[in-house]
Symmetry: C2
Subunit: 211 residues, 2 copies
């Protein structure tokens, strides 16, 4: 069965998935790259990187995925929709290699990139987006790519089957939080595990019984 | 050197140290006892309990402590100061066995209990409270007992040397948060470790270099 999965979504100890002050030069605002240093240090990211638990989790990002859904805030800096040439921040060959559904009120024609990635721009509810992405994934799973607002909306709508959150031991103080009051009791629908890594981060997995 | 320590302070994944709706019958509001089940399951709490990492952390609560500071919200239910007979929720022999400084705007005479606990009621700043508690601790350490508002105020004032937080894998959605915006960058003054336990909780320790 095709399921919806979140991988490698990193938050601070105080729950922020991105910092304050995002712009074209600071995708994560004042957080900079601090939420993702654990990932850059893995073998899956760069030769010679670590091959332990961080790497094992990190490498689950791609296998079995047939489509991604992402928010407008992951596709580009605030205001990208006013730039008709904007094709995302990943260069000519983005690291998705599947259809990618970008949730936006500013739809445009699909953009076919090298390597199998095609960006589709849809103005849709979470449930509609999952339906479209599953159809495109052709039996494989759908990855929900973020950011924090999108993930919490899909969690609140009961649409996430597997959630992997990485808690980084920093306090950002401000930004966009992953958790909100609609998610009270979320753990009741999942099997939850916590795994701390020597790097200092803690991997949390929420897995649905039927997955 | 006498230091200020926090032990076994439990929060939800979304950062709440207590739930909403606290009263005389629900000290932690809608959280109930869910933040502390990990502790009740240890050998240090009850014979036959677990003897692993949760127990090892739990047992650090008492040794070397010469005084405790607690907030009015830990000493009693909201409104306890209107009850002249209120002596805390711990019975005639409270589990402190040292002087305890209760921070309150409603001061009263000290109450001497069995077993070495004396409650002192002081209307003082965090720094003043630490000064008084250290004097009473006679060279031993001071434990900061909570609740969340008190701990974050002392953290913001730079007065905590050792912080042990236990992250419980539940989402409370509402209540009183431990972290706030004043604590941005807190990790920079500490060595931070995360240790996940088979019970599902994750122990976080913030330790100052000079400790």
């Amino acid at each position: 069965m095709s399921v919806v999965r979140v991988h490698n979504f990193s938050i601070s100890l105080d729950g922020f998935g991105t910092g304050e002050g995002q712009d074209a030069h600071a995708y994560f605002g004042h957080a900079g790259e601090r939420l993702h240093e654990w990932m850059f240090a893995t073998q899956g990211w760069q030769p010679g990187g670590s091959a332990g638990v961080d790497n094992a989790f990190m490498r689950q990002h791609d296998p079995g995925i047939g489509a991604e859904i992402m928010g407008a805030g992951k596709f580009g800096y605030p205001g990208w929709h006013e730039d008709p040439e904007w094709k995302g921040a990943w260069g000519p060959n983005p690291p998705f290699h599947t259809p990618v559904f970008v949730l936006t009120h500013h739809t445009r024609s699909p953009i076919e990139m090298e390597g199998g990635t095609t960006f589709h721009f849809i103005d849709a509810s979470p449930a509609e987006a999952v339906e479209q992405a599953k159809a495109a994934a052709d039996g494989r799973d759908v990855r929900l790519g973020g950011g924090p607002t999108v993930i919490r909306d899909f969690l609140a709508a009961g649409l996430v089957d597997h959630l992997h959150v990485v808690v980084v031991p920093i306090l950002l103080g401000r930004g966009v939080r992953l958790w909100d009051s609609r998610l009270e009791g979320l753990e009741q629908g999942y099997h939850v595990e916590a795994t701390s890594a020597p790097s200092g981060v803690t991997h949390l997995t929420f897995t649905r019984a039927h997955e």
